[in-house]
Amino acid sequence: MENRWFDRISDYLDGALSADETRVFEARMAEDPELARAVADVRALVGEAATLEPIAPRRDLWPEIAGRLTARTAPVIDLREERERRRNWTVPFGGWRALAAALALMVISGGIGWLLRGPSVPANPGGTIVAESDPATDPTMDARPRGPVTDAVNASFDEEQQLLSESIADLERLLVERGHLLDEDTRAIVIDNLVRIDEAIREARSALGEVPENDYLRAHLARSMKQKVRLLEDATRLTRGDI
């Protein structure tokens, strides 16, 4: 795809590319005015952001924010247990609102997708695939130089996780409420596949616990959560007889 070099703009500006990668990237920039323009735009944006004076909070807001985040973070629900526990539970959050949130999420995540994408490629005309990092300098695959773009990625990741968790929790509640409308086979298959995705999410989170800023693990976790959102959306759609 023509835009594949756009994936590396943040790495290029953060100085995270190797010498070979930088050479290839700059050669591409010379050939592609659109890429060069995009690099200039992002560089200007980062430059403007850097000139902004930090805004000192009037008081330490973190304890309050942390408390709200803890309260809002939605754990993954075991649907079978949930069904047993909440037989008389009513839906506090509208389905359309949940779906709208999920749709909004797709737009947001699409917008930051190029920032979250994975690694690019050093020149290796001989056709040999080599490990991209030297363990001596990059033992965790995460020793990239920090920069404004990287900080923006971290903030975007946290925000995306928050939105995904909320969307999943809302859709799970809807499914708990309406799951009885699915036929037995479909319900069993949906639950079985939700369990499989939950397992993938758990494993990705566990790995991220070891390497919190690993780009691949972040993208993989987000992808698994989005897949769960899609499956939940499909399942709740089926309960409305919309198929």
Binding site: M1, E2, R4, V24, G118, P119, S120, V121, P122, A123, N124, P125, G126, G127, T128, I129, V130, A131, E132, S133, P135, D138, P139, T140, M141, D183, D185, T186, I189, V190, D192, N193, R196, I197, A200, E203, A204, A207, E210, V211, N214, Y216, L217, A219, H220, R223, S224, Q227, R230, L231, D234, L238, I243
Partner: protein, 308 residues
């Protein structure tokens, strides 16, 4: 006794016996009559599209070179096939008064230029020779589409999706069953949770494949420029990688192994593995990621080293 009455009685007996034999033959040879059998043909206007709604059974849609739609179905008393001509939009709705799990088999012949959209529950769908957009959304049926041109959107929760010789933009989702794509061109996005994805003989320039547990096989050509992305959580990925490919390659895995017919210098980092390479001038992009599954780049001329 009147002797004149004897002959007629004998003739009556023979006639009665012949009738019984004839009736028996009819009952054995002739199929049972269905009260609502449907065989209809309707003219259609150029550019019209078709929506089909079907609950349980089979649906065959075949394109032909006439500007007509032909509907064939065998129905019981409480079953109906409704045809609606709304100008640019045609609808065929199969319904049963009992709404039970009675299977209804429906066959349609449609103009080959006509876009077709199908929604159903437990319906096996086969669409062939329709050179236009095709969209199918079912819960439990298998779906087979051959020869479509344009957008091909297929969804099945627990049905198998098979796509053959289609050109255009393919968007395929099956939660719990396999997806197979062969001999097509254009772009493909395919996603499963627990099914395998198998793609062979393709000339596609844009591929995005994602599974959670399913395995992935890609054995096709890499176009220039092209963008190819494969990801699984615990499924294995096997990719036929021609030595003359023109690709920028990135590979990521957390705990899986990586094997390659292309000279591979695997270097394991403390946590996970990441590889990069350029084949040729690197004008295409190939990104392969598996959290825990194994990744195998094999030489398509020699075949796979691992077979799953």
């Amino acid at each position: 006794m009147n002797p004149h009455n004897v002959q007629p009685r004998r003739r009556d007996r023979r006639s009665w016996a012949a009738s019984v034999v004839l009736l028996t033959l009819v009952l054995v040879v002739a199929p049972p009559a269905h009260a609502g059998d449907v065989h209809q043909t309707h003219p259609v206007k150029k550019g019209a599209t078709l929506d089909v709604e079907h609950m349980v059974g089979t649906l065959l849609v075949q394109g032909w070179d006439r500007d007509e739609i032909q509907i064939d179905a065998r129905l019981d008393d409480d079953e109906r096939v409704l045809f609606q001509d709304q100008g640019r939009r045609l609808r065929v709705v199969v319904s049963s008064a009992s709404r039970a799990t009675e299977r209804i088999d429906l066959e349609l012949r449609v103009p080959s230029w006509m876009s077709v959209r199908v929604e159903g529950h437990e319906v096996d769908v086969e669409i062939t020779d329709v050179a236009a957009d095709v969209a199918v959304s079912v819960i439990g049926g298998d779906v087979f589409v051959e020869g479509a041109r344009g957008r091909v959107d297929l969804r099945s929760v627990h049905g198998r999706l098979t796509v053959s010789a289609c050109e255009g933009s393919l968007d395929l989702e099956s939660t719990n069953e396999d997806i197979e794509v062969r001999d097509g061109s254009g772009r493909v996005r395919a996603e499963t949770v627990n099914g395998d994805v198998r793609m062979e003989g393709l000339r596609v320039s844009d591929v995005e494949i994602s599974t959670t547990n399913g395995d992935v096989l890609f054995d096709g050509s890499f176009e220039v420029p092209g963008d190819y992305a494969f990801s699984t959580h615990s499924g294995d990925i096997a990719i036929g990688l021609p030595r003359d490919a023109d690709l920028s390659i990135s590979v990521q895995t957390w705990s899986g192994s990586v094997d390659s017919a292309v000279e591979l210098q695997a270097e394991e980092l403390r946590q996970g593995k990441r590889y990069r390479a350029i084949l040729g001038e690197g004008r295409g992009r190939l990104a392969v990621e598996s959290f825990g599954g194994d990744i195998d780049f094999y030489d398509p001329k020699r075949g796979r080293s691992k077979r799953g």
